[in-house]
Symmetry: C3
Subunit: 429 residues, 3 copies
């Protein structure tokens, strides 16, 4: 067992969490109310281009919500000793983020000093939370819950500004949020990881490994994250992009391994890249085979990124990306943005009576990357403040720094000692 480590989290974390919750409740009391128009709750007005052609059923909301609340968390449970933190902090970030998201997103659409809550705005708040969860993936194992609460607060605020810019100022399309959520969350997290670089973790940390069962838990994350969009063309395009991406990921995973074997972490992540990359164009009639083509490119980019780019980023660029979010969200997100530029250049596409142009799509991609990188770096600098309970290098990737952990959890460690003895014993014979 690691030496008993005191994060001094007891009062700091509790006070910060309670303080933020009180602030939020007061702001809700002043600014938030139910949507007065009941029909708009089920059939949303076109506040944002994000939900333009969508008829939202409550069950769609529940699918999205469950994905945010626990699905993302299970995708991160591959680390052998960090399952509690992956799932637990995911819940904490989601619970705070969705309350905060309504406020900062609603700020841009206030009517008579009030922010209306309906199914649509709740779905958008859930999605805003996804950016913080993606950034959490890059920082996984290296940040305290105090730091994650602050990151959530700052990132969702900046996300809401960028989203307003993209959808209201540039009037760009990004229905599946390749840019505004996936690329934004990834580059925000990577910029923060760069600032929070830990030279002590240059060598592979002993806890930065998966186990057979932790990998199986991580597959559960795949359950609800595959598809969460209700518009028919978007479903068709996402479905084919994901399917083609999955086949290509299997083929390349075998191809890049020296013995031709599959890698579970690659499969878990890269199979979802197709869904990310098709996002920007999801509701455009790009033809199913184009969606499949986007999925194929996304699978290739993602596999090659995991295999070759992530190690180089850690060693040369000082960016330690625990979950490889650059490969699942960053690169496929940019790919989605580029696909949007190409499609709007080739075809004439209308939205709310104005034409989509490649220039404005490119502006949307640029502003997203710029705000994410600058915002992430600033946030990383704030998180470096010494009183925020940063964990020591030695206790990274270890639940026991923050959780009461049952004793049996140490089997693998004991086992390996036993295993050594055993091997030495056999060697001696």
């Amino acid at each position: 067992m690691p030496p008993d480590f005191d994060t001094n989290m007891k009062f700091k974390f509790s006070i910060l969490a309670l303080f933020l919750e009180v602030i939020v409740i007061v702001l809700y009391g002043i600014f938030v109310d139910y949507d007065p128009d009941p029909s708009s709750m089920l059939y949303p007005r076109n506040h944002s281009s994000q939900s333009l052609h969508r008829c939202v059923f409550p069950s769609d909301f529940q699918d999205v919500h469950v994905m945010i609340f626990v699905g993302f968390g299970f995708l991160m449970t591959f680390l052998k000793k960090y399952g509690f933190s992956s799932v637990g902090f995911n819940m904490l970030i989601a619970a705070f983020g969705l309350q905060w998201g309504i406020l900062v997103q609603g700020f841009w659409h206030m009517e008579r000093g009030k922010i209306s809550v309906n199914i649509e705005s709740m779905i958008n708040a859930d999605f805003s939370t996804a950016t913080a969860l993606i950034s959490f993936g890059a920082l996984l194992g290296k940040t305290s819950p105090i730091q994650m609460l602050i990151l959530t607060l700052l990132e969702i605020t900046m996300f809401a500004c960028n989203e307003h810019l993209v959808t209201q100022v540039f009037k760009a399309t990004d229905v599946g949020a390749s840019m505004t959520i996936h690329a934004f969350g990834a580059y925000f997290g990577l910029a923060a990881a760069f600032v929070l670089y830990r030279p002590g973790l240059t060598n592979k940390h002993e806890n930065d490994e998966s186990t057979y069962h932790s990998d199986m838990f991580a597959m559960i994350g795949n359950f609800n994250s595959a598809i969460a969009d209700a518009q028919v063309t978007a479903i068709i395009n996402t479905y084919y992009s994901l399917a083609a991406c999955t086949v290509v990921t299997f083929a390349l995973s075998s191809l890049v391994d020296k013995r031709g074997k599959f890698s579970m972490v690659l499969i878990q992540n890269a199979t979802l890249a197709g869904g990310v990359a098709v996002g920007t164009c999801a509701d455009l009639e790009i033809h199913p085979f184009s969606a499949m083509f986007i999925g194929v490119i996304a699978g290739m980019v993602s596999v090659l990124g995991f295999q070759f780019l992530t190690p180089v980023m850690a060693s040369k660029l000082k960016i330690q990306d625990t979950c490889g979010v650059h490969n699942l969200h960053g690169l496929p997100g940019i790919l989605g943005g580029i696909a949007g530029i190409i499609v709007t250049a080739v075809k004439t596409e209308m939205r709310n009576g104005h034409m989509l142009t490649p220039a404005l799509q490119a502006a949307a991609l640029g502003s997203t990357l710029g705000i994410a990188i600058v915002g992430g770096a600033l946030t990383g600098a704030i998180l470096k403040l010494p009183f925020l309970g940063q964990v020591s290098d030695q206790n990274c990737f270890d639940d026991s720094a923050y959780w009461e952990v049952p004793e049996e959890e140490t089997i693998p460690e004991i086992y390996s000692r036993h295993h050594e003895e055993h091997s030495r014993f056999e060697a001696a014979m």
Copy 2:
């Protein structure tokens, strides 16, 4: 491995289960038929106030159904050697309960000697089963499947009587079933646990512990149990209550631990308390910040209950509550009932043309607690009958009493013996 224990369950359990199934099929043949009005299958008539403003989609039914069938079971898998029983007996109780629930609930609404089956009555039957599953949580590890079948039969019958009283006689509101399901199930189970008190389990049983992986499985239970209601105001209120409750639970979980660490069992359970407590008022326009306030109180009550009340109940009041259902369902259920009384006192709320009054809400809460406690105690006394295959103290919390268990399951035990040797070995050096 425990000494081979014969529960003599072979014929007793099989005969009882087959006998009950035959009875049920015969009663269905005589009394049950499809609802003759097809439209009512999707858009239910207002049989009970329970589903008043609800438009039920088949997919809602499936969400509820999956939650009942397996979600509850996974929430109880935290015990290290009782995962098969938690999930398996949950399925058994659900499968029998939902057949029985239609009969005893439908008994109060018969038309021309027939009980109609439609989506609404199936959802209500699923919910009735939840009471037995909550009571199962209090008794977890200490009862045989024979006893659980009998408890299911009796509890659902009494539940249907109390629900009739609450919704038809008192005409009280309880849309999210804080009182009729959560408080009823909890106090029924606690009363039974009191009668079935086992002095031999006063000291912590060696199997009454969680493991790292069993805790991870228990988080899966959270997947589908978060939200299962289709009406928009109810979704909004439940969503904010859950979110605020989660943040507060994290803060308090750290605060009550002497080293400031989180407890997984607390987080798993207490984060759901906000959903329970907001139930009674879920469809009232109480304003989102009131819902958040209810969630905050529920989180506080639940954490403090787990930390301080449950140990005292076991040692002083002779109530051994394995899963702590008192903290997740009992106290938050009462809290929900009280919130209903307060809201109806402060605001004028109408239901089906009559006014909701605090007096009738209080009567509903009182009748629920009274019937649950008396019914649970009576049921506990019946379950004490010697021929019902009660398990010995030694075999409590152990799947191998009822299940064929693969050998590897004993690793932790072997490991700990090995560990001791190892430690002694190290100590000797």
Copy 3:
């Protein structure tokens, strides 16, 4: 650890997978387009009798899709060392199968040389994939991913022909696909298993065993596979058949065990048999108690099949059925077909203006079994071709033949060696 085994899969698998994906994309470019009639996307025309009375919501599609993509896979994770392959190859088969299914199913409904894609045809493609996943269950642990891709290609093609015969030529009813999916998939897989018989596996393979945690993962498969149909009568019938089947399965599982204990594998599988068997008649008004009766028979057939038939099939008939798909899909599928014959003989049932007759229902059952057995045997013969990377007997049921597996996975093995020592040690004292 097993001797390092080279399946020579590196180039073979990757080339085949990429080749198939390119072919599929080219065929989509030529033949496939979005459905030009947008309303048909949500409210499908009556292309096939399969979806006759169904109003399809996008969320139904997502339920089905998730079930196919990962639910089936988790049901097969009971083997102690084959969890990665069970879930991973399930995804691979699903990803390729659903692309291929649209093409071969759409081939029978082309209009002006184009195959239309809408929600309905995507659900049907998902279902077509289920046949290959069921066959995968029979062959689990004994085939390479190269073989499974070829099997998927061939089986889905033959499935589409048989489905056309059943629904368009015989105009038989099979709404829940007892025959066309469950029986077809099972007997196709069993015929292939017969041809691929491995005499070396006659004795129980050391890896052909479950563990406590693998059994728990397998229960997750139950989550989404219980109910996936949107029509109300079908939901009611399936619900009661499943419930009655579950109770009977528990009773019989205890009855057939010499000490009266439950078997987790039996419960996992047999509880679903009721849903399979009621499929053919699911949308007929057969009365709830008939549905329960079908469930009871299905539970009995399934338990007795697992306990007595599967061992005999392996030893006498040379059919090695790893998951026991004969008991979950084969026998209950035939039972469903027979129930359809009986119901159409007893009651007058109309479909699209023509009457359902027992003779045509019987023809549908016969053609399904015939095509499945002949097609499966032919496919098995093709899979025997030596260059398809068949795994050696010794490496059957072992993820490490195809996957990079984390080290801790070998605990059970080490443990058992340790356990033996320990036991010998104790015996010596």
